[in-house]
């Protein structure tokens, strides 16, 4: 098989298999009378009813707003603190047990704490999202800065580069592949925490909608919410990959990764 046909076949597979899966599900659920798995066409109908674009303002936007505020807050704090901790061996050692402990707390266990201390409003949700996204970014920043090639550091010293230039032109770029790895983990966590925080205490949001639909036995609505969350996760991940590729275009490792 020539490389060209091979490529074409692979591309065809990549397009055909997902379509095939949807088609099978469609056919399989079409005659279904089980309550929990409604026909796919119903789910799509409800999806169009609810999410295009009836509830975008009332549920999707509040959810996304909280998620992004929390996420960017966490990223900013984590990169600043991580840079400080990564540059000092003593600080790193001293804070290691605290960081390890806080990071090990399963995030939902902090929800009751956040509700008691902050209340049930937007602030609580933003706090919980930020708190959880913080750790992967922080740890990766520390590792990234800690792992900078010593030759690079020596060169910076030999050429007398220091202060701002050293930070912006040497330290942060050299650590950026790892920082991005952390940011990516943080992004998927932020969606998860967005949903959990809305399921526990909320009056709007996608997570609230999904749980509410289940409680009122509106199963196609519930599925449409799950579908939306899947699409959201996929799109955010895709957007992140595009940004990462652009920022890290110089980094070979980013291109070598096969699974996007």
């Amino acid at each position: 098989m020539s490389p060209r046909t091979r490529q074409l076949v692979e591309l065809a597979l990549e397009i055909a298999v997902p379509i095939g899966i949807v088609a099978v599900l469609w056919a399989w659920t079409a005659q279904s009378d089980t309550f929990y798995y409604p026909p796919l066409s119903d789910v799509f109908d409800r999806f169009a009813d609810n999410w295009l674009f009836e509830r975008v303002g009332s549920d999707v936007w509040p959810s996304l707003r909280r998620m992004f505020i929390g996420y960017f807050l966490a990223a900013a704090i984590a990169i600043v603190v991580g840079t400080a901790l990564g540059s000092s061996r003593m600080l790193r050692r001293a804070t290691a047990p605290i960081v390890e402990f806080l990071r090990s707390i399963p995030p939902p266990a902090l929800l009751p704490f956040a509700i008691v201390v902050i209340g049930v409003g937007d602030d609580m949700k933003i706090f919980i999202i930020a708190f959880v996204c913080l750790w992967p970014v922080l740890l990766n920043t520390i590792d990234g800065i800690n792992g900078i090639d010593p030759t690079l550091k020596d060169i910076a010293r030999v050429y007398g580069i220091s202060g701002r230039d050293r930070l912006l032109r040497m330290t942060l770029p050299a650590a950026s592949p790892q920082i991005f790895a952390g940011l990516r983990l943080g992004l998927s966590l932020s969606i998860i925490l967005m949903v959990i925080s809305e399921m526990v205490a909320s009056t709007n949001g996608i997570g609230f909608f999904v749980l509410q639909s289940q409680r009122s036995f509106a199963i196609p609505e519930m599925w449409s919410g799950i579908l939306l969350l899947g699409i959201l996760g996929y799109v955010l991940n895709l957007a992140f990959v595009i940004v990462e590729r652009r920022v890290l275009a110089w980094h070979r490792g980013a291109r070598a990764s096969a699974l996007g």
Partner: protein
């Protein structure tokens, strides 16, 4: 670490024992001191009234409550329930994820065919499935395990796929030219080179599994630490609530240590671990 360990060995003859002891001592001292400082600050901030005692009880009261919880049977039952869900979730994810990952990773066609479905399913927050799990499995152990297994399956699968794809082609070709069968190649080449990736997958999945188990306990009220935390909160029993949150964190910490230690043990032969072991 590698360089400092090397320096230590080369300087071993000259540097007397006390030198290293002092360094080990200060290495241990800094973290201990930092933990004490944080605990002290907690006590101080609450006692001084910066944070109201109705929001956060003082550290001594909370830690005291934690110790008295440690003596209670109910507490250990809850820990057992949580661990049960964690182990089953992680186990199922491994049993399904590793073989499937090896299968998909070793075939270009399969990989291309399933790339989009995997990429679509993977970022679905597993918590979105909580309502579904409640409908289908109720509010007991099955729901917990279903959610934990679903969530920890993806890191397992993807790490295995990466690992299998990262096998050195020269090694595979060498094995082929020596006439090793497909099965022998999997056993002697693919599996060993994929193991570090799989081990990382296990570590990630273990954390994810615990998170989902606690979430399920909190949100749908399955028995375990999460439910106890929620009960303590709604009962206004803040000391118990904070003590249990601390206990959950400690549990996560211990599980982290265990999986990392297991990883080091399994991978003793692997270059990435040698410096750590040294």
């Amino acid at each position: 670490m590698a360089t400092s360990a090397g320096a230590e060995i080369s300087a071993g003859r000259r540097a007397p024992g006390w030198h290293r002891r002092v360094r080990d001592g200060s290495a241990l001292l800094a973290p201990v001191a930092a933990v004490l400082v944080v605990l002290g600050l907690w006590e101080l901030v609450v006692r001084a009234g910066v944070i109201s005692e109705t929001n956060i009880p003082p550290m001594t009261a909370t830690v005291g409550e934690l110790f008295s919880q440690l003596g209670e049977g109910d507490f250990w039952t809850a820990v057992g329930r949580t661990l049960e869900g964690w182990a089953l979730g992680l186990g199922i994810a491994m049993v399904l994820g590793i073989p499937l990952g090896m299968l998909i990773g070793s075939s270009r066609w399969l990989f291309r065919a399933f790339r989009v479905p995997i990429e679509f399913l993977r970022p679905i927050p597993s918590v979105a499935l909580i309502p579904l799990a409640v409908l289908i499995y109720g509010t007991g152990l099955e729901s917990k395990v279903f959610l934990a297994a679903f969530a920890s399956f993806w890191p397992m699968l993807i790490q295995t796929i990466y690992g299998v794809q990262d096998v050195d082609p020269v090694a595979t070709d060498t094995a082929k030219s020596f006439g090793l069968s497909r099965l022998a190649r999997v056993r002697h080449i693919t599996l060993p080179s994929a193991v570090p990736y799989i081990a990382t997958g296990v570590r990630i999945s273990s954390a994810v599994s615990l998170i989902l188990v606690v979430t399920a306990e909190l949100v749908i009220g399955a028995a375990g630490l999460g439910r106890e935390i929620n009960t303590a909160r709604s009962g206004g029993n803040l000391e118990v609530m904070y003590a249990l949150i601390l206990a959950t964190g400690l549990l996560g910490y211990v599980l982290n240590l265990v999986t990392s230690a297991a990883e080091r043990r399994v991978l003793r032969w692997h270059p990435s671990q040698r410096e750590v072991a040294a």
